[in-house]
């Protein structure tokens, strides 16, 4: 297989894992002000994501780094074309991180309220805007060889916003389920019932997404050419249904697993549809950045492949160990002691 294709798959995988992990942090941050009223509840929700959010965010940094290393031309132009929206995401991520880490170190009520606000905003904005960004990438961005012709507001088109909402609701469900797995019972029930409610919105968005994608994007072309690839979006739909099924059955563990699998297969459905593009040009396909015209040299791709083969399994191993260590409900003692 060509190295560009290997890196394209890895590129998709990094985004998929990032959304499957940080997605629940975002969802938890969005639900945070609505389900936790007492100080103990607030601590519990932040504690539920506390050991993980930073490690999860590194998947984003790695996705960015991998884009830079493997597809530098795409990295250069994607980031400069989307200057302002990326800046907004960046500021939101900065404040989310600081808010989660420093809230517990602040003693005044005013400061705590300030951080509460930023936990929510810093989770809500990236959840929505990552979706908007991917929606626009699916559609293609208006650029040619003279540069980029879009604006911040041209990104907020109906299809972009739809994908934004799909991401938003998906992460809320995902985050609600995660909270319900880790916090004391009463609070867990609240989070779980929110996840249940938002699943309907998620499902509606998913159906609209599947149909509008046919009119707004060329993503279906690859699937129509090689229909067996339809298996991936089919699995995505199945995972979404199973998430709903286990939500109704009150099985939060299984619902969470299928929610994560839905996110991964959703991202891969998009990635398969994009191939061989990384960012299609909506003006003319000949300007599109593809994995072939924007990749690093073969030598660099080979070096990076070796690095990945050796080190990513190690990362997966110790992150899995960390998850296992903190699996299960947070104890009362832990909530009173260290951390947030």
């Amino acid at each position: 297989m060509e190295f560009q294709i290997i890196w394209f798959i890895l590129w998709g995988l990094l985004w998929a894992v990032y959304f499957a992990l940080d997605g629940f942090d975002f969802g938890a941050g969005i639900l945070y002000p609505f389900i936790s009223k007492s100080e103990m509840d607030k601590k519990a929700v932040l504690h539920a994501i506390g050991p993980f959010w930073d490690g999860n965010e590194v998947w984003l940094i790695t996705a960015g780094g991998a884009t830079f290393a493997a597809f530098p031309t795409t990295y250069a132009y994607m980031f400069s074309y989307l200057y302002t929206p990326l800046l907004i995401i960046l500021f939101a991520l900065i404040f989310r991180g600081v808010a989660v880490e420093l809230r517990g170190k602040s003693t005044s009520e005013g400061m705590k309220k300030f951080w509460d606000f930023w936990v929510f905003v810093g989770s809500f904005i990236p959840a929505l805007l990552f979706g908007v960004a991917f929606g626009n990438i699916f559609m293609g961005l208006p650029f040619d060889n003279s540069g980029y012709h879009g604006t911040l507001f041209s990104l907020l088109n109906p299809y972009g916003l739809l994908v934004g909402l799909l991401f938003l609701f998906t992460f809320i469900v995902h985050g609600g389920l995660w909270i319900s797995l880790r916090v004391p019972d009463e609070l867990a029930d609240k989070a779980f019932s929110r996840a249940k409610n938002f699943w309907y919105l998620q499902a509606i968005c998913a159906v609209v997404f599947l149909s509008l994608t046919a009119t707004y994007t060329n993503l279906y072309n690859n699937f129509l050419k090689l229909p067996y690839w339809f298996a991936v979006p089919a699995v995505a739909v199945l995972c979404l249904l199973l998430t709903g099924f286990y939500l109704m059955k009150n099985k939060n563990g299984r619902a969470f697993v299928f929610s994560a699998l839905f996110i991964i297969t959703l991202v891969f459905s998009g990635v398969i549809g994009l191939y061989p593009n990384l960012i299609p040009s909506s003006i003319d396909p000949k300007y599109s950045f593809t994995i072939f015209n924007s990749s690093s040299s073969l030598y660099t791709l080979k070096v990076m492949t070796i690095v990945v083969i050796i080190f990513v399994p190690i990362v997966v191993f110790y992150q899995a160990w960390a998850y296992k260590t903190f699996m299960g409900k947070i104890t009362e003692k832990e909530l009173k002691e260290e951390g947030y």
Binding site: H47, G50, P51, F52, D54, G55, E57, V58, L60, I61, T62, G65, A66, F68, A69, A70, P72, T73, Y75, A76, Y77, M78, F79, S80, Y83, T84, L86, L87, L90, F91, L93, I94, F95, G97, V98, E101, L102, K105, S106, G147, S296, Y299, T300, V303, M304, V307, F311, V312, V315, Y318, Q319, A322, T325, F326, T331, K333, E334, E337, E338, G339
Partner: protein, 434 residues
């Protein structure tokens, strides 16, 4: 102002701000890990309280280091698209490797350390902070390999309208990177050493937890002394490497205009770049500049066309001040150790140590000014000019807006950080369990 200048200013602001938090993280992670290990080895609860007290300050600082670091990765593409396209084949790899090898390790095990007190064995708990310390310092290695390539590009060919990597090993073992790594990491350890020294001095002046803070002070002073000596020695090697690879930078660092054999170093010197000379040159040490540069004949700035020279005054002053501070650190750390037995009575020294906390931070910033301003007008030395490296798609107004945004956001974060650090530093450790 044009996009070039604005983008440079924004990168300077965000990189300098990020580098307020990085050096302390580099050193304090090691110190906290050492304290926790001492607790395991001796069973002395004071060391556990130490790990928790200094660990809390470490965490406040770390949070800001992490979030301001993401900015750096985004900015290469956002503001420096032509640079990213031109060098991405080489420059992207160490960045991706840094994330894979170091950031995952650091963030995952820091989470384990913060929340794992009751969930894992004490040994595994101590191991996790050691892994954080290792990963933090490892991340410095990879980012400095990337930076060193901008200073001294190796292992590449120019092909397909860009620089392409042909020798990964050469990029990784770039001498420039090795010197820069040790010099930078050791300067971070100095920051941490003086941080611990200064805060311990604060409490000793107030006779608060004297035993606890004397122990802390000793650890801080020993660490500061060893690392400030190493900074100096490695700095000397590093200067010779700079002289070898970046003649314009070393000439600007010493404001040397004419090519000189057995070049002296003037202790008193005032550059006058407008007239390509120095208005004051006094108290010369014969041959000392030649010794520093490791060259019999040191090239002067006049050998290079004016448009290829870095800003002389800023580079020169930053270098001088950095070296002066570096020597002061050795002296102060030595004094603290010599007077250690009755240090609680040396109130003047304690006061000086307290007020010295910001100095290693300043020295670290000055070092980066020498490294980055001294590299101008090149973004990749001898290969690509800074002015040719910016994003063509980005308008000056966008950069003005983002620069204002960064200044306000970072300003607020800076205030919050200093407030929280001083609050918890003053509060002192948790009381002893009875």
């Amino acid at each position: 102002m044009d996009t070039v200048l604005l983008s440079r200013l924004q990168f300077a602001v965000t990189a300098a701000f990020h580098f307020i938090f990085v050096p302390l993280t580099l050193g304090l992670s090691v110190l906290v890990a050492y304290m926790e290990s001492r607790y395991l080895a001796t069973g002395d609860k004071d060391y556990l309280r130490m790990a928790k007290f200094w660990g809390r300050l470490f965490l406040i600082n770390f949070a800001l280091g992490v979030v301001t670091g993401i900015t750096m990765e985004f900015q290469f593409g956002m503001n420096w698209a032509e640079y990213s396209r031109y060098v991405g084949d080489i420059f992207g790899s160490p960045l991706a490797i840094e994330a894979t090898l170091a950031f995952f390790l650091e963030s995952t095990f820091l989470g384990v350390w913060i929340f794992g007190w009751n969930r894992i064995s004490p040994k595994l708990h101590a191991l996790s902070i050691w892994l954080v310390a290792l990963a933090t310092n490892l991340s410095a290695l990879w980012i400095l390999i990337a930076n060193a390539w901008m200073q001294n590009p190796v292992g590449y060919v120019l092909r397909n309208g860009r620089a392409e990597m042909v020798d990964f090993w050469a990029v990784v073992t770039n001498h420039y990177a090795i010197f820069k790594f040790f010099h930078t990491v050791m300067s971070g350890w100095v920051v941490a050493g003086f941080f611990v020294l200064g805060i311990s001095a604060y409490h000793l002046l107030r006779k608060n937890e004297t035993d606890f803070f004397k122990k802390s002070l000793k650890i801080g002073a020993t660490f500061a002394l060893i690392s400030s000596l190493l900074v100096l020695f490695i700095g000397d090697f590093h200067a010779k490497e700079v002289a070898h690879t970046q003649p314009t930078k070393i000439a600007a660092m010493e404001s040397l205009w004419e090519t000189t054999k057995d070049a002296p170093m003037y202790l008193l010197l005032v550059p006058e770049p407008a007239n390509e000379k120095n208005s004051v040159e006094a108290i010369g040490i014969p041959g000392f500049l030649s010794f520093l540069a490791g060259q019999k004949e040191v090239k002067g700035l006049k050998e290079f066309p004016p448009q290829d020279r870095p800003p002389v005054t800023l580079t020169f002053l930053s270098f001088r001040l950095m070296v002066g501070l570096g020597l002061l650190f050795i002296l102060l750390a030595l004094l603290a150790l010599v007077k250690f037995k009755k240090i609680e009575q040396s109130t003047t020294l304690l006061r000086i140590l307290l007020w010295s906390i910001p100095l290693p931070y300043i020295a670290a910033q000055l070092g980066w000014i020498v490294a980055e301003v001294g590299r101008q007008p090149w973004i990749v030395y001898g290969l690509l000019k800074t002015a040719d490296a910016i994003s063509k798609a980005v308008e000056p107004a966008q950069v003005v807006a983002s620069l204002i945004g960064f200044t306000i956001f970072y300003g607020a974060l800076g205030i919050i950080d200093i407030y929280l650090l001083s609050k918890y530093a003053r509060k002192g450790p948790e009381p002893k369990e009875v």
